[in-house]
């Protein structure tokens, strides 16, 4: 099923927990990406 059944609207999400991680140096330096987290959660929701 190629269509993702959701659209990633990062700017519309208020997710304080994830947003906080995005500011942390150890997360930034490790390559942490908020969009990867959102992709995963939305994929699991619409699978």
């Amino acid at each position: 099923d190629v269509s993702k059944r959701y659209t990633l609207e990062q700017s519309l999400y208020s997710d304080p927990f994830i947003k906080d991680l995005q500011e942390r140096k150890d997360f930034i330096a490790s390559g942490f990406r908020v969009d990867y987290v959102y992709e995963r959660m939305l994929t699991e929701a619409f699978m």
């Binding site: 991680l21 150890d26 930034i28 330096a29 490790s30 390559g31 942490f32 990406r33 987290v37 994929t43």
Partner: protein, 297 residues
């Protein structure tokens, strides 16, 4: 199933060649040693079982069956007689840029399928890229695999065989992503073009040295907060190679091939290409077209 010939022995398993009696299909039986691990079933075996059960893809090794016999866990896997490490090392085998492109395409399809199922492989290297009788590349050995971590989870950085280990892992990162698999794929691509290991560090510390001498030492400018890593301060600073130097190093590589490699070997993991960007890169759109796997010798 029969076990006809022992073909390998690892820390936690013995591998036999065999046959599936009902169909005559050649198979490999990975017999997991259970006595060696004082905490019950070995973690690598648990991971192989867990992830191979979920993945069905032409470019990932197929788990045909699993059974317990005489208190041993047996994984029945598809029979894959060769691997990329053998091909690279055997100088009697000549292969072309089109062959390399085909191998990279199949490898990235397998890696992409893992990533879109939110599974990290964490041990990509030439001898884990097996080759089927009809020339298909199959990603194998999920003994270090895991699902993408939950945001607050801490991951061990002691993964991926040293020469293929991404810089964030060399720095001891705990929140890394699927980018570590893409780095390994980039190093494999370089090795296919050079036919010798590209970043052969002798020790973990030497690996940092070898990596940055070849590709330049990252700075906060191109990799924000890289200086945060404790190991960063003791680093020798090397300039990144010029495009000209890269051309000389990879004589046979086209401009797009170099872009493709640099995309996978981008220091900053946040900026490193992901599997989709690799698959959609111009490298796969320009001549020569990837060889038909079944014609590759």
């Amino acid at each position: 199933y029969t076990k006809e010939k022992k073909v390998g022995e690892g820390t936690y398993a013995v591998v036999y060649l065999g046959t599936k009696q009902s169909t005559g299909r050649k198979i490999a039986v990975k017999e997991i040693k259970t006595s060696e691990f004082k905490d019950g079933l070995d973690m690598s075996a648990i991971r192989e079982v867990k992830y191979l059960q979920e993945i069905q893809h032409e470019n990932v090794i197929e788990l045909v069956d699993i059974f317990l016999a005489y208190d041993n866990l047996n994984l029945v896997l598809e029979f894959l007689p060769s691997d990329l490490e053998k091909v690279i090392k055997d100088k009697s085998i000549l292969f072309t840029p089109a062959d390399i492109k085909s191998w990279m395409l199949m490898t990235l399809r397998g890696v992409h399928h893992c990533h879109r199922n939110f599974i990290l492989h964490r041990d990509l290297k030439p001898n884990n890229l097996l080759i089927s009788p009809d020339g298909q590349i199959k990603v194998a050995d999920f003994g270090l695999a895991r699902t993408f971590p939950s945001a607050q989870e801490i991951l061990t950085s002691n993964v991926v065989t040293r020469w293929y280990r991404a810089p964030e892992l060399l720095f001891g990162a705990k929140h890394y992503t699927s980018a570590v698999d893409i780095w390994s794929t980039g190093v494999i691509f370089a090795e296919l073009m050079l036919r010798i290991p590209y970043l052969p560090g002798q020790t973990d510390v030497d690996q940092i040295e070898v990596t940055f001498r070849a590709l330049g030492t990252p700075t906060d400018k191109d990799w924000p907060d890289v200086s945060f890593f404790p190991a960063y301060n003791k680093l020798q600073i090397y300039p990144p190679p010029s495009r000209e130097e890269l051309r000389r190093r990879f004589i046979a590589a086209s401009e797009n091939a170099l872009n493709f490699m640099c995309g996978m070997l981008t220091m900053n993991p946040q900026k490193r290409w992901n599997a989709v960007q690799c698959l959609e890169s111009d490298y796969f759109k320009e001549a020569p077209a990837p060889s038909d796997p079944s014609t590759i010798q």
